[in-house]
């Protein structure tokens, strides 16, 4: 699922300090699951913001409201009765949710209260690891279930670069080299043939906006 993390409180205060009535909108989907922007986090941010406004004698007043999802108009519709009462809104959903809210309520300045970090897995509750960059051309079938786009700093498709040192990445020595993992896994599965064929480089389809129409 998508993983988000709350922005620094100072940054949030700076973006909304000129507004009197602020609506913090939580998302009951991925943002809730990763403990970044669900109802609990909305309540906490709301209390923190009101405390800052009070301490700094600012007129701002934050109110929280959580909808089930900010990427689906059915749920965003729930806000139409209350959103006009507010001068601006802080979205605690991923970038997609925040943008959709801004599109559906163009009269209300919409600010993100979280940073969208990754499409990732839950290593543990509160510990997440990125696993996908949504490149649109999945190759993990040939690479032993290890994504070279996400896990290789250079996104290489045909083996490691020259910088691999002690099975670790040269860009970040704390990250294991994706290609060492790919090699080891394929070797264990007796599938090394999979990476012997030269593959064309990634097409970076995710650099332009994509629209998906599911065909059956």
């Amino acid at each position: 699922m998508i993983k988000v993390t709350q922005k620094d409180l100072k940054e949030i205060v700076e973006t909304v300090q000129d507004y009197a009535q602020i609506l913090i909108v939580g998302c009951g989907g991925c943002a809730s699951v990763c403990l970044g922007g669900g109802q609990k986090e909305v309540d906490r941010l709301c209390a923190e913001l009101n405390l800052v406004f009070k301490a700094e004698r600012k007129p701002g007043r934050a109110t929280g409201y959580t909808i089930e999802r900010q990427c689906n108009p059915v749920f965003i519709d729930e806000l139409k009765q209350i959103i006009d009462k507010y001068d601006c809104a802080l979205s605690m959903a991923c970038g997609a949710g925040c943008q959709y809210m801004a599109e559906l309520y163009p009269g209300v300045p919409m600010f993100p209260a979280v940073d969208t970090v990754a499409i990732g897995i839950d290593r543990d509750i509160g510990v997440y690891e990125e696993r996908c960059r949504a490149c649109g051309e999945c190759v993990v079938g040939y690479t032993g279930g290890v994504c070279p786009v996400t896990r290789c700093a250079k996104g290489l498709f045909n083996g490691p670069c020259g910088g691999t040192s002690g099975s670790m990445c040269e860009v970040n020595p704390n990250i294991p080299c994706a290609w060492v993992e790919i090699y080891n896994r394929l070797k264990d599965q007796n599938r090394l043939d999979n990476i012997k064929k030269i593959r064309p480089t990634v097409k970076w389809q995710n650099q332009t906006q994509r629209t998906l129409i599911q065909k059956r």
Partner: protein, 130 residues
């Protein structure tokens, strides 16, 4: 260490939310013919070996249906039971289909809204979904 009691359930607030969409709730609950055709459209129902507890109609009747039947006068324990139905047995993928046109996701979402208004929400830190 002091242990804080959870706040009382505010039935008035629940009724307020419910009454705003009363017509939709009443028509939906009355229209359900218990045909069970919605069941097959729910992937959770199918991957839980056709457990009837995962049927979309069952989830609606036992969540918003219960709240409506009790006119919002539900206890915390009842609301917690409803919370488990609407969070643990439904992911709100909005793919369920009713031949009579009942908007099932919207009703589940309303039940969640009512739970949220009383601070009865699913705890994602608690662990895995059922």
């Amino acid at each position: 260490m002091t242990i804080q009691n959870p706040p009382e359930i505010d039935s008035r607030k629940i009724r307020e939310i419910l009454w705003e969409r009363k017509k939709e709730v009443v028509v939906s609950l009355k229209s359900c013919a218990h045909c069970a055709l919605c069941a097959d459209s729910c992937f959770l129902y199918r991957c839980r070996k056709n457990d009837p507890k995962y049927m979309p109609s069952h989830k609606v009747i036992n969540s918003i249906g219960t709240i409506y039947k009790k006119k919002g006068k539900v206890t915390r324990a009842e609301l917690e039971e409803i919370r488990d139905i609407v969070w643990k047995r439904c992911v709100l993928c909005t793919r369920c289909y009713c031949p009579l046109g009942i908007d099932i996701p919207s009703l589940i979402s309303l039940a969640r809204q009512i739970c949220r208004s009383q601070g009865v929400v699913h705890d994602f830190e608690e662990g895995k979904i059922e």
